[in-house]
Subunit: 248 residues, 2 copies
DNA sequence: TTGCTTTCTTGATCCTGGTCAAAGCTGACC
DNA sequence: GGTCAGCTTTGACCAGGATCAAGAAAGCAA
């Protein structure tokens, strides 16, 4: 009964992109069943390392709940975050045996996993999965390139504003679509993690957060709860082209 | 006659990844023939803009000769290079109508092009092409993330050393595989383009080039011709983990 | 040759963000 | 309650790279 499978799949793994973006819409139900059999869940606690650079990776996965980060490290220990995995994001690389980055859970994380080998075999047989993964990877590449612009050319204040607007947008995309108007959300990152993401020190992050608060761009109910009185005002601080919506 | 087609294809488009990495090895010859019919060439002069952000893109392409760059721009004109297209690199995004970046030829460039729509249709039918594109995109994503580490955490001197070693490696990969020993190559970028890539100003690039020369890490026959007496010495200056070769 | 343009180098000065240091908060555990 | 650890803020000072400004070098046309 494909219907039953679909329902349980949806319930258990509502955010899994493999389900709703790659499989259900376009593939036949026996492929869905195959995926369903392969799937298993893993949980990680906040702070726990999911994989170290160079570790053998026997599975690919998609984040169901929680937030994980990808980081790279220089010889002397300087670190740079290179990716943020939010619910529905995909992790792992078909065709690659070892992790290319350190993967760390910054909150408690649940992932929907598939063993790599059978997943790769399934990709061979069901072209829509690799087409969907291509789309997702291209999106990630775009995001990485936008981040390069941020790292290379933005000021500390612009970097903070950009990060806040990105988190706000992703966090609130379900709650309200409109820009403008008040917006509230929790910061899922420590000041240090923000610094690693932005290529700054945690002191600079803290100072710029205080500055944005002093200037009335944001309000801080607690250290991790942000309230944005005017979202457009925040966007003005990012340095981005504001009329860039037409590029899509 | 598939053989004849293959030969002409190789001759005219030796560096095209669509040919030797995605098609020939795994697909049937009628698909090769279909690709062959679709293909056409375009040339651009040094300095010419291939596409502006937001332009309609009716083709995808792969670089045959020359070098092109992808750049992004902030509201006030600050620019950051986000990609370097060398021979065999792929340009364009199946499924996307408009360019996401400014694409500029920095030297004279020849590209092997395919009209987007038929190319997309072919992707639907020949899964190996999208699988190969997925692999290539994942490689690009890795490169972008390595670049994020550079932009976020490296010093000016380390950035220059990294760029030189990357260009040297790609340029010389055919000539000599070994590290260590003397290495010569031409810089295909102006100081300004280097600065845009590294998130620096051109003055800083110039100063650091002079410093590396003064310290004997590189020699400058002319402003664009680099000679590296000891490649390992240059690698030491990049700040990267030197024993990172096992990650594959 | 001369003049003109583009690219590159070098110097002087400034300022953003890093570094070092101290102290304030907050929550957990006893 | 007290204590401790982790996270955050703030201050003082410093330095790496940006900015502003001249000029040098190289390429090119007349």
């Amino acid at each position: 009964m494909p219907t039953t499978q679909l329902e349980s799949f949806q319930m258990e793994c509502a955010n899994c992109p493999i389900r709703h973006r790659a499989v259900c819409a376009r593939c036949e139900s026996d492929e869905l069943a195959r995926l369903e059999e392969m799937k298993f869940y893993r949980s990680f606690q906040a702070g726990q390392t999911i994989a170290w650079t160079g570790d053998r990776m026997d599975f690919v996965a998609s984040v169901v709940t929680g937030i994980a980060t990808l980081t790279q490290t220089l010889e002397d220990g300087r670190t740079q975050m290179v990716g943020l995995l939010l619910p529905s994001d995909f992790m792992g690389r078909p065709g690659r045996e070892r992790a290319a980055y350190d993967v760390t859970a910054t909150t408690d994380v649940t992932m929907c996993c598939f063993r790599r080998k059978p997943f790769e075999e399934m990709m061979e047989k069901t072209p829509h999965v690799s087409q969907r993964l291509l789309e997702m990877t291209l999106d990630e590449l775009d995001a990485a390139r936008e981040w390069m612009l941020l790292l290379g050319r933005k000021t500390a204040r612009e970097k903070i504003a950009s990060l806040l607007s990105i988190i706000a947008r992703r966090d609130a995309s379900l709650k309200l679509a409109k820009t403008g108007g008040r917006l509230e959300f929790d910061l899922p990152l420590t000041r240090e993690a923000m610094a690693d993401y932005l290529g700054l020190t945690l002191e600079t992050v803290s100072r710029q957060m205080s500055a944005l608060k002093r200037d009335g761009v944001i309000e801080l109910a607690s250290k991790r709860h942000i309230s944005v009185p005017d979202f457009d005002r925040l966007l003005d601080e990012t340095g981005d082209d504001t009329d860039g919506g037409m590029l899509a």
